[in-house]
């Protein structure tokens, strides 16, 4: 075998090995998307009921609560950025980080100091590399977040928002996550969690034309709201974590699919080149033999003469 042909063969072998790996990763990601989607669906009843309850207290009573009233001059805001622990997901993480950076810039232009909270090793690495300050970070559960993880993330945020701004508390809480629209579409977006915009929440929870009943609050509207709002934040964060996880798996699936396709294409091109090299080799051999034979024939013919 000629040297050229051997080089091609070796490259084909290595590309097929890579293709096998990316194919396996694609299939794993595909099965995980389904699982993650199921988890999103399973968490929906709790989230809808909770949203309904928040709307009921918010609209049915005249209670004022720090978590629903806007500060007059918001000076500090917290931004929670959800990324993933692992890469190989195309532009998933960079899109989320870009959205967070745009939001941060906007908030800073409006005169707010921004505290950044990050979920996922990728986001942490991005911020650490640029030596930006991170208020708190959480890693290790982005593939399959549980409700306990959401609670862990929510705890310091709720604490920060309940503190006075002068003591290092924040006035607003924003979240940047990747919404799972469909298998093919995931969009990074930012949303303001707190203070609550009751009108928006109400639109989500109550269909048009329906009137919420006048509730009896047990023990009192304030106490119910006090207990309800942290749970609401937790459930929103849980939902965002689940959607980010589903989006990440979908992005991985897509990235791995195009990697597999590219590997297949590369193998095709390389096999063609290898075939051409083999053919060239054969042609060369034949012409060498023919050349050799005719030289021999010429030589014998010469000696005969």
């Amino acid at each position: 075998m000629g040297a050229q042909l051997r080089v091609y063969k070796r490259r084909i072998r290595s590309v097929s090995a890579t293709k096998k790996i990316t194919k396996a990763m694609e299939m794993i990601a595909a099965s995980r998307v389904v699982k993650a989607q199921r988890k999103v669906a399973a968490s929906t009843p709790y989230a809808t009921e909770l949203t309904r309850a928040v709307t009921a207290v918010g609209t049915g009573s005249n209670t004022r609560h720090p978590l629903t009233t806007e500060a007059e001059n918001p000076a500090r805001a917290a931004v929670l950025l959800l990324t993933s622990d692992r890469g190989l997901a195309g532009a998933f993480n960079s899109n989320a980080i870009k959205a967070a950076e745009q939001l941060t810039e906007r908030l800073e232009r409006e005169g707010r100091q921004v505290d950044t909270y990050i979920v996922g090793r990728r986001g942490v690495a991005h911020y650490n590399f640029r030596e930006r300050k991170v208020a708190e970070s959480f890693t290790g559960f982005t593939d399959e977040p549980s409700y306990a993880d959401a609670k862990k993330v929510a705890a310091p945020l709720i604490e920060a928002i309940e503190k006075e701004t002068a003591d290092g508390g924040v006035d607003e809480l924003h979240i940047v996550y990747t919404e799972f629209v469909s298998m093919m579409t995931q969009t990074a977006l930012d949303a303001r969690l707190l203070p609550l915009r009751l009108e928006e929440v109400a639109e989500e929870a109550v269909p048009k034309g329906e009137i919420l009943p006048l509730y009896d609050f047990e023990p009192s509207a304030e106490d119910v709201l006090d207990a309800l709002l942290p749970r609401y934040v937790e459930s929103r964060i849980y939902n965002a974590l689940l959607q980010s996880a589903a989006s990440k798996h979908a992005a991985t699936r897509r990235a791995m699919k195009s990697a597999t396709d590219n590997a297949g294409e590369l193998i095709n091109t390389l096999s063609r080149l290898a075939n051409a090299a083999r053919q060239a080799e054969i042609t060369q051999e034949i012409s060498e033999i023919v050349g050799g034979a005719s030289a021999l024939a010429d030589a014998t013919a010469g000696s005969d003469r």
């Binding site: 009921a56 409700y147 509730y215 009896d216 047990e218 023990p219 106490d223 309800l228 937790e234 849980y238």
Partner: protein, 125 residues
Amino acid sequence: MAAELHVELVAADRQVWSGEATLVVARTTSGDIGVMPGHQPLLGVLESGPVTIRTSDGGTVVAAVHGGFVSFADNKLSLLAEIAELSDEIDVQRTERELERAKAEDDAEAQRRADVRLRAATAAR
């Protein structure tokens, strides 16, 4: 036909139980309340503890609920809890071991959780 109310028992990550019932007894921060069909709209904060649901076919469902809310309107009762387990999902022996361990480690949170589970499991017997 006896009056019925529709009950949904929902935990943060799943729907635990749903069906028709004639009476639901739960413990709120201001005491035990029983909800029957036609009750006035209600929104309350739940204590950790067992919730008893008398189903319309005469059976009883007991669930351990760890914090949460109860809301009732239009003959629909929703029990929202971060963690909720039906009594027959609870493994009594394992929970007893957990309780022992929690006591030994002085972990008040785990002890309370195990205690609620045990109370729900015994209430169902």
